[in-house]
């Protein structure tokens, strides 16, 4: 199949960018979207042009490295799928597809489609953990946890930290990302001990990083490759309010 691409090219964080048109004549429906970009890059290399830079690593939808706006949608048109697992069979021969980076105030562009998502790491470092040092753990079966609770926690723990939620949000909010970690840990007895400090610290850090507020658009849930529910955001807000009131 033939695919036309309009790709965002930007030299560096401070330069201005623009959309550039390319055509890949040798596309196949079995290709992943990133493999299509690989083919484009080989083409560019052969003609002596700079390849399009983008982040990717595992290419099986779990590491969270990749993230592109494909046809205006974070990770592209296929639901619950990271862009590395989006396959060309989702497109038609002759389609023109626009490819842009994840855009948000808190995700500065590094080059082309590569953005800086280190703000997420700082949100986790704010208190996205259980403060247990190595060696001090009791027997793993010492605290029984109901299957339902463990399953709920796992639903939130499945977050891959890709940033699609931020890119899709009109406010550029990181609420779904932050709420996922707060819910994962807060649902489990191990994490409940520090639940209150956790929510205060992480929400505050989210603001420091320049992410916007949540206004319940739910665009984040719609694009999340792991289908994480915005119920987590409600939980996060409740515990944040509780924390504020008890201060």
């Amino acid at each position: 199949m033939v695919i036309n691409l309009r790709v965002w090219r930007q030299e560096g964080p401070d330069s201005s960018g623009r959309l550039v048109d390319y055509t890949v004549n040798q596309a196949s429906e079995h290709m992943s979207f990133l493999e299509l970009l690989d083919v484009l890059n080989e083409q560019l290399l052969q003609s002596g042009d700079d390849p399009v830079e983008f982040d990717s690593d595992c290419r099986e939808g779990i590491c969270g490295s990749c993230g592109l706006m494909v046809a205006g949608i974070a990770h592209g048109p296929q639901k619950r799928t990271a862009v590395c697992q989006l396959h060309m069979r989702s497109f038609k021969d002759g389609d023109t597809i626009t490819v842009e980076p994840f855009r948000a105030r808190a995700f500065p562009i590094i080059r082309d489609l590569v953005v800086d998502r280190s703000a997420f790491d700082r949100i986790i470092a704010a208190h996205g953990y259980v403060s247990v040092t190595t060696g001090s753990a009791p027997d793993a079966n010492a605290i029984p946890i109901s299957k339902d609770l463990a399953d709920d926690a796992m639903d939130y723990a499945a977050c891959i930290g890709c940033g699609a939620c931020v890119a899709a949000c009109p406010n550029g909010s990181a609420s779904l990302f932050t709420a996922a970690k707060i819910s994962h840990l807060g649902l489990l007895p191990q994490g409940r001990v520090e639940a209150s400090q956790r929510v205060m610290a992480m929400v505050d850090q989210m603001d420091v990083e320049g992410f916007g507020d949540c206004s319940n658009y739910a665009e984040c849930e719609a694009v999340c490759p792991k289908g994480i529910s915005i119920e987590g955001i409600a939980r996060m807000r409740r515990s944040y309010m509780k924390g504020v009131l008890s201060e």
Partner: protein, 648 residues
């Protein structure tokens, strides 16, 4: 060359394994009782460089910082949370015996050493089994949401090579959850200022001065700057070299460069020919393919592997009646059936396909069928166990595995070989420690499923905190040099020259072209089965390819910015050198064991024929250009008797 190796089979004095004396079950306790400790005040004055943030690196960095050491941790991704450990699906083994099905530390040890075809060191493997239970405790305390039973206790499942259920899991995302646990522990230490985390850094060389590792050169992947870091010890936690084959289940950035650079600075490379070809991966579909996707081994708990009896049977799989199917694993290995270890399962699939019974368009696939399990347990249960894997399969292939069998084929997945380390995880360069998949130590010639996560975390959480102390307490700190020392300048200059050479070469071929070609050579000749002729010819071909690389490599752009092609070119150059060593090592080992199958050495039934008399050893190679020097560590078995490995 193989002949001279055979004649010179003596234990090399350079390979002192430092295994403590005493009963196998007591060695680790004896070690811990006698090891020197570093006082809390002194810990603060020691700076440790941890390269890599996967299970081994993140757990080591978090634990050492928690003990009071100053730690700097490097990773090539934009965040430590993305290390490739994250992609492990199926589970992690531990000898908890919660199901009361007869498991013990001894059994986990025994299964692992037998699974490795008696090519690993007893004492290391026993220690691994011993600390396995602590790992589960630690992970649960961190909030890792392992699967649970309705009563609230942890759930277990079985994996290949074992007859007990000892595998803990978090859906099909166990690696992700364990890595996030370690990443969060690391983040806790970063927040406390005890770990300095440097993402988007690639270690490009090791700095050795006064005969010890004293630092490294890293390239800042955003600015291209070469940076110097001095430390009292370097911990290499950079994973395996499966990407040498180009197509593998490894992530795109997984590479051998850091380990290979250390090898060139004096760290011996052990058993490079031991690579694991995983039996259940989604088959290759085209030339553009950039990587392969694994389908967890756990699927073999409920999936049955088969091919049609008749190679010309063109019916859709669900239309083929039972009596026209060959469940060849169940037929050939009645006691383990579909749960034979990976090497055995992979070779069996290859044999079926080689003999023409493969299925699908390329004929390089076999069926993995869930119909019976769905009938027995209901679709709901199967969805609960493997839902995310089924979804992933459907996304990639367009087929629905609830309705039609999966098509699978083996793919490169893991490397058992790696830098040689002693019992303390120290390489042949003093002060350079190697953890996790990057070392060679625990899996012998074949790794059992759910043992990689166990080893990475064992090394990082529970082994290195003790053994690093022994090194630091025994060394004179005045040997330590700073970043301004000449040795840093010299190594940095070499790194920068190498980059210039790649960038300013007036070539016409991209790194991917060379990488694909190397991958093809390795897969064809140093893959699932090997023979002398093929190995000799591939050795030649790889060296020629390497020469061509330096003549024709073409990388656009400059060194002072984000430049993925430049990164990849450097890695391909190192894979080319490693590729020769893999072939050389496979050529020297004139026996079949685990993942290393030499066609000349097989039993009449086509099983691997091991030669304990000549090859019960570790082949550790010392770098010397294209003429590496072989050193041998003889493996001695005091507690188990190497038996013929049978799963029949």
């Amino acid at each position: 060359m193989a002949h001279s190796a055979r004649q010179s089979q003596v234990h090399s004095p350079r390979l002192d394994s430092k295994v403590p004396s005493g009963l196998l079950q007591q060695k680790w306790d004896i070690y811990k009782n006698q090891v020197s400790l570093v006082s809390p005040a002194n810990k603060r004055s020691h700076h440790i460089l941890v390269v890599g943030s996967g299970l081994a690196g993140a757990s080591a960095a978090a634990t050492l910082a928690g003990l009071g050491y100053q730690v700097t941790c490097f990773c090539i991704q934009d965040s430590p949370r993305r290390a490739h450990s994250i992609a492990a699906q199926g589970g992690i083994n531990a000898a908890k015996n919660y199901p009361n099905d007869g498991d013990t530390v001894w059994r986990l040890f025994y299964d692992t050493i037998k699974g490795g075809d008696y090519r690993s060191r007893e004492a290391n493997v026993y220690r691994l089994a011993e600390v396995s239970n602590n790992i589960i405790d630690q992970a649960v305390a961190q909030g890792v949401p392992f699967a649970r039973e309705y009563g609230g206790v942890l759930s277990n499942r079985s994996f290949g090579g074992a007859q007990v259920s000892r595998t803990f899991y978090a859906r099909g995302q166990t690696g992700q959850q364990l890595l996030l646990g370690a990443y969060q522990a690391l983040s806790h230490q970063i927040a406390g200022g005890r770990v300095k985390m440097l993402p988007r850094r690639e270690m490009v060389d090791l700095v050795v001065a006064n005969d010890r590792a004293c630092g490294l050169i890293a390239r800042n992947l955003l600015t291209g700057e070469l940076e110097r870091y001095a430390g009292d010890a370097v911990l290499l936690c950079t994973g395996g070299y499966g990407n040498a084959y180009y197509l593998s289940t490894n992530a795109k950035n997984s590479n051998v460069t850091a380990a290979w650079r250390c090898h060139k600075r004096g760290a011996f490379f052990a058993n490079p020919c031991y690579t694991q070809i995983h039996p259940t991966c989604i088959p290759v579909s085209g030339d553009y393919q950039s990587k392969l996707t694994l389908m967890s081994e756990s699927l073999r708990n409920d999936g049955r592997v088969w091919v049609p009896n008749d190679p010309h049977d063109e019916r859709a799989p669900e239309m083929i009646p039972e009596d026209a199917r060959d469940y060849y694993l169940e037929r050939r290995y009645p006691s383990f059936g579909n749960l034979v270890p990976r090497d055995v399962a992979s070779r069996a699939s290859k044999k079926e396909c080689d003999e023409g019974r493969g299925v699908g368009e390329t004929r390089l696939a076999v069926y993995l069928d869930f119909a019976h399990s769905i009938e027995r347990l209901g679709e709901h249960t199967i969805r609960e166990r493997y839902g995310n894997l089924f979804e992933m399969y459907q996304r990639i292939t367009g087929d629905n595995p609830y309705q039609t069998p999966m098509r699978i084929y083996p793919a490169v997945h893991y490397t058992m070989g790696g830098l040689w380390v002693d019992y303390e995880l120290q390489s042949t360069v003093p002060g350079l420690f190697v953890l996790g998949e990057a070392n060679f130590s625990d899996h012998g010639a074949n790794r059992l499923g759910a043992s990689a996560l166990m080893q990475g975390l064992a090394d990082g959480y529970f082994v290195i905190p003790y053994t690093l102390g022994a090194y630091l307490a025994g060394h004179n700190q005045s040997d330590q040099v700073s970043e301004t020392h000449d040795s840093f300048a010299a190594v940095e200059k070499e790194a920068s020259d190498r980059i210039d050479r790649i960038l300013h070469n007036d070539g016409d071929k991209s790194p991917t072209v060379f990488h694909r070609e190397l991958g093809r050579l390795l897969w064809d000749h140093v893959g699932m089965s090997r023979h002398r002729e093929g190995l000799e010819s591939s050795l030649q071909a790889i060296e020629t390819l390497e020469d061509e690389f330096w003549e024709r490599i073409c990388v656009p752009g400059s060194a002072d910015r984000y430049n993925k092609n430049l990164e990849f070119a450097g890695r391909v150059a190192d894979f080319l050198e490693l590729g020769s060593l893999m072939a050389r090592d496979a050529l020297r080992r004139e026996e079949s064991c685990g993942g290393h199958f030499r066609e000349e050495y097989q039993t009449p039934e086509g099983e691997a024929a091991r030669d304990d008399e000549a090859y019960a050893d570790v082949a550790a190679w010392e770098y010397q250009g294209r003429d590496p020097i072989l050193h041998l560590e003889q493996l001695t078995f005091e507690s188990v008797h190497p038996s013929k490995r049978s799963y029949k």
